[in-house]
Point group: C2
């Protein structure tokens, strides 16, 4: 794909909501090649900019039932006439080569739904490019007319913070804790959660799920109210992704929260702040890319960083020394 | 102060542990003037680099009894023959013109102790320079031979995260909660706390303090164990800064934690990672300073940021456009 005509066709396809065009466009923004990056920027510049999806960040550790939840939740939404896109963010896949969503067979009903679009995480990830790729994939899904973009991330590392910076709200999916041994929540995740869903509230696990939900509701009350929350938020709710219980209630809470934030000018203000944040990040990222594209300079920066880590130089002096050479 | 001879004298004074030299040196690193910055870098380059203090970050909302705690805790440490420096970090003082520590009269006993050094936060703060100024003040205190550097911050905004990135451990001071209305902890602070101290465990507040401490201990157990922690950490303890109760126990816990981290190569690894982080931050900060020092370019960046916030441009495209002009 090198022709401007191709990019025009691709942009039109995305704008018309064509899923194959959307998939091709995401592949383009995911590419690490310099010429693909140019084309991706060109493509993104051609898209309609007047469409907004509800962006929901979703996190949960492996085994918590995320795929089952997304399938159930997604089908409920498409059943309401909404179009749903699911994106995966997995910075760890750079090492493992794996994908969170695995193949789509784990959500085969949703994958076959014409109103749904599922995009597994790429098997190869450019370090530092996770945020950019995901933001641009979200922009593509919005341009393609999706009403909901679910951004799924696994509960490791910094990915939740990154995802929360590009989401309108953040949902944390938890499993019932076993007996006294309460399930640990990764520090920093509870801080960004707008809604905690305790899954597997079914069968023999129901009493445990109920206790776990009460425990987290208690822990949430220990945290100070945030200006972006109406009374009672963040909330902890019980769901059973397997039986479909609680999904409607979870959606109702999401709508309550989002309506309140829109009414209080928080939705727009947050989006603006996020855009400004990502602009500043892009300026820094592109400047660093420029610096590191010179092998001699990249080696110089690595040396300086090591000297700082070893205590031979202070950070400011080392940085000044490197920048003086440019 | 413009002579190289003066800087040599100043560096020697700091190295000899002279408190007046240390105070003058900190004033120099705090200055926003370009010529002072040059001199500060020069001075920092002349300091001994083989001295390490234990850096303790300390946070707590106003009214929790921080000054009383620091005075009692500091005097206990100097009583053990240790030299203690206290630094304040308050990014909000840029607006209010205030200082966390206020004048030293709130800790008059510690201020008069020859083995203590107290530095209130400056009344004027360069935005974005908080981290640099504090890091360099810490380096000066270490070079001056202090054994403990207490970095005090008020429980607002992002200052705790910044301080935790330059501390060996982080202590959170809390007040007993009143009745059912549990005191809210700012989200994100509990995540970085190594030790939670519930203060005012004295007189009529003792039962409440005991309950509050148990509540936070319970909340901490809900969070997943971090690789940098021995069993049982992070911990919640009761203290009475007023009566001096629990201070020895708090210090014993700090020593246990630090010894464990040193034995498990976490201390060194953390310091190296922090130094690398600050180097990368300095490279970004100094590059941005260079860009913003050109008024035309600074205006261009502000325009581009606004266009992004208003949805007219995507972050990557706007950043590329600005950087192309350099």
């Amino acid at each position: 794909m090198t022709q401007t005509a191709d990019l025009t066709t691709l942009a039109e396809g995305v704008g018309a909501g064509d899923r194959r065009a959307l998939a091709r466009a995401i592949t383009l923004v995911e590419s690490g090649r310099a010429d693909h990056r140019e084309q991706a920027m060109d493509l993104l510049g051609r898209l309609p900019r007047d469409r907004q999806a509800l962006r929901i960040g979703l996190s949960g550790t492996p085994g918590v039932g995320k795929s089952t939840f997304i399938e159930g939740f997604g089908l409920m939404l498409t059943g309401m006439g909404l179009r749903v896109a699911v994106l995966a963010v997995d910075p760890s896949s750079a090492r493992s080569g794996g994908s969170i969503l695995g193949d789509k067979t784990r959500m085969d009903q949703l994958a076959r739904d014409p109103n749904a679009f599922i995009r597994p995480s790429p098997s190869q990830t450019q370090l530092g490019g996770v945020a950019r790729r995901t933001r641009e994939a979200i922009a593509l899904c919005e341009a393609a007319g999706y009403d909901i973009v679910l951004i799924e991330t696994v509960g490791v590392g910094q990915s939740e913070t990154v995802v929360s910076q590009m989401s309108d709200l953040f949902v944390l999916l938890l499993a019932p804790a076993g007996g006294d041994e309460l399930q640990g929540v990764k520090r920093g995740i509870m801080e960004i959660a707008d809604l905690i869903l305790v899954n597997k509230a079914d069968g023999s696990l129901k009493p445990q799920a109920t206790r776990t939900c009460a425990d987290y509701a208690g822990a949430l009350r220990l945290l100070r109210k945030r200006p972006q929350d109406p009374d009672g938020f963040p909330k902890a709710l019980l769901v059973s992704a397997l039986e479909g219980d609680g999904l409607k209630e979870a959606w109702a809470e999401i709508e309550t929260l989002i309506t309140w934030r829109k009414d209080h000018d928080i939705w727009d203000a947050t989006r603006k702040a996020q855009a400004g944040y990502w602009f500043a990040e892009e300026v820094r990222l592109q400047m660093m890319e420029r610096l590191m594209s010179d092998p001699a300079l990249a080696a110089r920066i690595a040396d300086a960083r090591k000297a700082v880590a070893d205590g031979e130089l202070l950070p400011a002096a080392a940085a000044a020394m490197v920048l003086k050479e440019i």
